[in-house]
Symmetry: C2
Subunit: 436 residues, 2 copies
């Protein structure tokens, strides 16, 4: 029976070795909710996990089976990627982002996780004194951990109160110190589901050029701003990207969410030729290869895993081809997340919650994979703990680098009526017990 | 026509940006030989590359296709590995190494390359002041690069003149300084194809315990000491391992060579429970997880790639099961390399070459994937350059950390009569032109 008693809850927290709920890892939160499910004998509503909640794109699995049947398992993959992935990746970017990235500048990685880990490793080395990463927050917590593990520094910029023109002064203040090597963000934003505006892109591009900074754009959820239809290849509107504003970019495109293919760990790093071909003294001395792309592929990626498993590369290549040939509409396939978000958002709003990150410019944010909620002035820890007692599992905004009060809600596992009904019932009960 | 003229050769070297042949990467040597093939219009004998030269184990590809058909592509893999891989890995070690490693201590990685990269990252952190890796050389050059990229120090110990009891004093001298966190080696040795003796294992185990050092044993070529038949599960002789001598070990078992499965990038890290469960202050503070295995899986591996692609994990699990159930004999399958080595070695010896690393104790080394050759007092650079001009591509012992004069020969691509005939013809011509 929900709510779980405070005593039983405190006991569960203790058993999971959780010291502070707002900084606990997602894995710890999952373990806590699983434990409480056993205690209560009822299922939780899991809004904490970001597993794709849709079946995998079939084209991918078929391409893998075909490649395996041809015997590709015995030969080391080229660290720079198979030609099919490089070519189809280039075409995919042309079709949906309307940008030109040559195949040689497209490199597969073991998910975007390996991509941001290894590119951070490299970008932290490129110039003496530049080993700080500027993270636009809220963001994906793992990317901050990656910088930390690599021995690099991070600074965060919470976009909550500096959208639009206000971004310029805040960015300028940080970048003018000269120690930032790169700016890293996700767009659409994980977890706020905001999308950068034209004004914001222009400011970032201008300042990146002014201060010799590289922009790392994580497009894990590309196309999932459902206010527009980005799903038609070679036709406007195209998916917005920093690559339209400057050539100082590295893009990360993952198959995990857009093709529901997280299990096979496949993504691609896409560099502008300007970034790829720039020569650095450090790379020449350290890797004996002055060009950034060579140092990355043959210096870093080779050492990190000797490239990426062959068959997932074929899967990704074929899924992208099917997309630009119009046989797969990944945007339409993912629009299910928008539908789920619209329903869930209404349930939260009807029960006294508000959206924390609510606007892009003057436009309300899109419905999508995530959104953020607050409840009156309730602190993040209080809100997260209390909702847990009511059978709703979330993560705190603090853990995503945000300094706002509130929680991240992920709709990927809201897959059936019963789960929605449970969510509504429990939100109603919570709202009744904790009136604003 | 071979030999290539000195002028044409010098021109090719220049075109490939090779400054020093003995420290060029394998990729550069491949590019050089490919270029020379175009110049001469004849194929090289490629002894430089370590690609598996056999077809992949069929059980693996079938298991992947089955898993993909079940839809595993959409779900993030558990970072600690799928249960099948952990259980079958444990049983595989029991059957062929006669050791007990619990499933929880077995963790999949994106090839052994990711395994040694990520475990080095971790072991360099475990205790203040201990961030040096002792590499037994000759060895796999990438492992030294990994330490360097991670900002760690390495010391090398060339085993050439300290086999048997002589190892103790040399090891003691290095370890007594107290800055070594781990000893890393491959067995059978890449590239010398030596195998550690019982005496040497005892010395290493004793000193590892005395100086609180962890032993990292890379078993990439396990079972391929063909002087013994290690291919019968649950029956002696068992594949030798440091795990029989001490519990301070981390083993690396890769599917790349034993199952000719390099293309799918799958291996496993196997820790003793003693290593896995040890608590460290640094890990508690840095990862908020004191136990080494937790810091490794949820701290390092999660950040490196969010685990390993699902389908290759199923492949590896099923190939190991087929082996301990006696349906696949990986040792017999790989014995083809021994056959090729025996023929190639005779050709080198008949033409004035000698084996550089020739003995394990009083036993001549096994035939296998690699061997090492020298030619009179000819220096490594001279010998490598000259053989290149005769259409034989190799890498220098220097690049493997050895301080001996000579070359590494890999037999994996010696797959047909014509290639063997070319090798013999060219060695005869070289020997005639450069008499000892």
């Amino acid at each position: 029976m929900f709510p779980v008693s405070q005593a039983a809850y405190d006991d569960a927290i203790k058993k999971q070795d959780i010291i502070q709920i707002t900084t606990a890892t997602i894995r710890q939160i999952v373990a806590l909710s699983n434990h409480l499910e056993d205690v209560v004998g009822e299922k939780f509503v899991h809004l904490e996990m970001g597993n794709p909640g849709l079946p995998p794109c079939k084209v991918g699995a078929q391409a893998e089976a075909t490649a395996l049947a041809k015997g590709i398992a015995s030969i080391y993959p080229n660290t720079a990627g198979i030609p099919e992935l490089k070519q189809n990746g280039s075409e995919f970017l042309r079709a949906f982002l309307d940008i030109e990235v040559p195949p040689r500048c497209i490199i597969p990685t073991v998910g975007s996780m390996q991509a941001t880990f290894t590119t951070q490793l490299l970008l932290g080395q490129r110039q003496p004194g530049r080993n700080t990463f500027l993270l636009l927050t809220p963001g994906f917590p793992a990317q901050q951990h990656q910088a930390k593990i690599l021995g690099y520094k991070t600074v965060s910029l919470d976009i909550y109160d500096c959208r639009g023109e206000a971004l310029e002064a805040r960015l300028e203040k940080i970048l003018s110190k000269g120690d930032v090597t790169a700016i890293l963000y996700n767009n659409p934003n994980n977890p706020a589901w905001t999308n950068l505006t034209d004004t914001e892109y222009r400011i970032m591009a201008r300042l990146a050029e002014k201060y010799d900074v590289i922009i790392m754009e994580d497009l894990a959820y590309m196309g999932m701003d459902f206010r527009q239809n980005y799903g038609v290849p070679y036709e406007a509107p195209f998916i917005p990207t920093i690559a339209k504003y400057t050539d100082r970019y590295i893009l990360f495109v993952s198959a995990s969410k857009i093709f529901s293919y997280a299990g096979q760990r496949i993504a691609m790093v896409c560099m502008s030729p300007t970034v790829a071909d720039r020569r650095y003294d450090f790379f020449e001395n350290f890797y004996e290869m002055p060009r950034l792309i060579d140092a990355y592929v043959f210096g870093v990626l080779y050492c990190a895993s000797s490239g990426v498993a062959h068959s997932p590369q074929y899967a990704f290549a074929e899924m992208m081809r099917a997309s630009y040939e119009g046989r797969v509409n990944f945007v339409a396939d993912c629009s299910e997340y928008g539908r789920r978000a619209a329903i869930a958002k209404k349930m939260f709003l009807d029960n006294g919650f508000h959206i924390v990150y609510a606007f892009d410019g003057d436009q309300p944010i899109s419905d999508g994979f995530f959104f953020t909620v607050g409840y009156g002035n309730m602190g993040s820890a209080d809100l997260q703990n209390t909702l847990m007692r009511y059978g709703i599992s979330t993560i705190s905004l603090n853990s995503t680098g945000s300094v706002q009060r509130g929680l991240r809600v992920c709709v990927s596992l809201l897959s059936d009526e019963e789960t929605f009904n449970n969510l509504e019932k429990r939100l109603v009960a919570f709202h009744k017990d904790y009136p604003l």
